[in-house]
Point group: C2
Chain length 279, copies 2
């Protein structure tokens, strides 16, 4: 008897001369459009010699043989020789690189440099140094740990405890090299009815996060079950007070309740006009 | 007189119904192959209604008019109607989505779902919760702050102070939802000649980072200029002692000197076999 409901698992290989992280993220986004199917994913990074290309080709062929289906290969191989070796395998190739570089050569009227591994900033570059400095800054300025050196901040996130400030700050530092401080709004601030005293002078770079009281209570209960801190009444009170304060102080804010870290970060960049667009 | 050396700056627009971060990273990688040219980049995220598509179209046309060249548009628009509106503009379109989804529909024998915004995990998903937990874990287990709960770690990075452990830990947590602890190897450990006492039982998940003494001295000098800590002699001594210890303890390690955070993270995943390949 044949099981008609059996879902075939297709093998997906991500082959790159660098880390393959960009290709991997992209691959997930594309394959999310086929959510009735199952995929088994294998990333083969650092394929930068003919020998490694040959190994990758053999891996593809092995999956071809065991699966009974040809594997799907997302590749970002800059070097033509290496690319050609991998492509000898029987697979469906989605070549992220050649697909776009060739039409761009025509459009721009110049040849591409075909240089390998230009995806990420390496440790000796200024951009890398900047990124590490931003990460260190965001770590030392997490959760209002220090109010020193806020002049250097690109952005200061504010919001009640557990509204998503820390992951967003770290993401902004990691992905965009931005110095992102964050500072909690706490019951004492609501009692006084004003922002902590060191903040108003930096208002042009403050961005607020809020969250639904229900979701906040859920998150806080995981940390401190059955506490006043986590109770829905207290969460309702804090969220309401924080939102009223942000409105009063004219601070731009969004609700993190149903947002990903990437979505929050993108909105912060947009609203504070922080994107550096030249390269 | 014409200046033949004048480099034309081409406008590049990244248009997405989500954040456009994946497309942006991909766009940088592709355009890095044209390093003799200059690009002005503008990301237009959250284009998820016909109205926003119309606004995006107008922006493209404005750049078309002021530049005198047609802009280059990297787009990841899932919705056909929205995509069609944007594409009315006079630009070079590199459609990251349709380019790969259509051949995949043929290969897989199913229609894609055409659902918008599937790129990142939102706050209500298990994957998101896992990611936030990993970030919190990595923050509380940064720089050997605590030796508690190391059983829960997916990876424990070790290495001398300023060898790249913190950014790598945070990246592994942020990008892969892995609980990454890190613990410095310090002069006291080298004097005793053994790993800190709480580490050997976790050896299967320990990964070492090293760095060239010259680079280390440079980094440390930025933090504590002219200190013994930053001196090249001390850096040479610490790096040598740390590498000898890692060899003696049979710990897999790599040098972070010329590596990006992404490259280090990818190598850690490979060597410790941490990639979760099913989705």
């Amino acid at each position: 008897m044949t099981n008609l409901n059996k879902v075939t698992t297709r093998t997906v290989l991500i082959i790159s001369d660098g880390t393959g992280i960009t290709a991997e993220t992209f691959c997930h986004a594309v394959l999310a459009q086929f959510d009735s199917l199952k995929f088994r994913q294998l990333r083969i990074p650092f394929v930068d010699t003919p020998e490694k290309a040959e190994e990758a080709r053999i891996k593809i062929e092995m999956h071809r043989a065991t699966d009974g289906f040809r594997p799907i290969v997302f590749s970002t191989l800059v070097n033509a020789e290496i690319n050609a070796i991998v492509k000898r395998a029987d697979a469906m190739f989605l070549d992220l690189f050649t697909t776009f570089v060739e039409p761009l050569e025509t459009e721009l009227g110049v040849q591409s440099t075909h240089s390998v591994g230009r995806f990420h900033h390496t440790a000796d570059s200024a951009a890398y140094k900047n990124r590490i400095e931003a990460i260190n800054y965001s770590l030392t300025h997490d959760d209002g740990q220090t109010t020193k050196d806020l002049e250097a901040a690109d952005v200061i996130l504010v919001g009640v405890s557990r509204s998503g400030k820390t992951p967003t700050s770290l993401y902004l530092a990691m992905q965009y090299g931005l110095k992102a401080a964050n500072c909690p709004l706490i019951p004492e601030d609501f009692d006084r009815g004003v922002l902590p005293s060191w903040l108003p002078q930096h208002k042009h770079k403050i961005f607020g996060l809020t969250i639904s009281p229900e979701r906040l209570s859920e998150i806080r209960n995981e940390r401190r079950p059955n506490s006043k801190y986590a109770s829905i009444e207290n969460c309702r009170h804090e969220v309401k007070a924080a939102e009223e304060m942000m409105i009063r102080e004219n601070i731009t804010w969004l609700s993190s309740t149903t947002k990903s870290i990437e979505e929050i970060a993108t909105t912060v960049l947009q609203k504070l006009n922080l994107e550096k667009g030249h390269f």
